[in-house]
Symmetry: C2
Subunit: 162 residues, 2 copies
């Protein structure tokens, strides 16, 4: 694979990440405050929960990918450790929207600056020992997995479309 | 990127494809015939429709990726062109299960044999002219996109879990 092909491989992966984030952002941008409080199906997560959940999961990518400290660790208790409706005092929608946009802008910028070698480095959620045996548990794998995670919840959000 | 890194890049992409397919297969394997006829949410697609839909979309990957003729083109009318419940005479569940397994086994085998250069080739759903301008619209892009498509519907199927 020459330099050009390497760049293309990475560009294709990045464009899939960006597309998934863009689709989710488009969905959230079009939601009214009322719609944020609507569950995706009876008894299931509300849209606001999925916005906070996706933001928390993306924020957790920072340390996992060696990109520094988290920005919004307080989101975990609200949107990862606990199910929806367990905690009533959630952050405001404008605050969550702004965090969602900020974390994705930061991640996309950082990923865009990686060399091919950096994409294949160990992520911090796998031990050096496990990584020696399973070298596909690299940073690329985290980005592909989290891209799929956005799609997973996009499928649920799509149930609210008329 | 040396040979080893190239292989790793591709192995990581392939393992994400395989994982998404495996998760969906695990879900379908655990479904009773009754559960196949349950909608994922009130008024939405039934599980059997999603099984057929995913199979049809994967079958369409064959010509798009230059891997030969389709095996099950008859699925399109039932599971792509028409919404669920529009056509009452669907294939049997065992037949759909078997097609789902067969198409994924074939695709995974074919993808596993590609060289790095083949991953970056033009797919047949983009014109040569557009591909010259947008070289990331390659076969890798189709595989990443379809992996995300499985995740999208997995998110919906997960709503049926207790």
């Amino acid at each position: 694979m020459d330099q050009n092909q390497q760049d293309l491989f990475i560009k294709t992966v990045l464009s899939n990440w960006e597309l998934a984030v863009k689709r989710a952002s488009k969905f959230f941008d079009a939601c009214s405050d009322d719609e944020f409080l609507t569950p995706i199906a009876p008894g299931k997560n509300r849209v606001v929960y999925l916005l906070g959940h996706l933001t928390a999961v993306h924020d957790r990518m920072l340390p996992v990918l060696g990109l520094g400290e988290r920005h919004y660790p307080q989101l975990d208790e609200l949107f990862i450790s606990n199910p929806d409706n367990a905690i009533t005092a959630l952050p405001s929608i404008p605050e969550l929207r702004s965090q969602w946009t900020a974390i994705n802008t930061l991640l996309t910028e950082k990923l865009g600056a990686w060399t091919p070698g950096e994409w294949l480095e160990r992520h911090t959620a796998v031990t050096a020992e496990d990584f020696a045996r399973e070298p596909h548990r690299n940073k690329l794998n985290i980005v592909l997995n989290r891209t799929g995670h956005v799609s997973y919840h996009l499928g649920q959000l799509a149930l609210l479309k008329k």
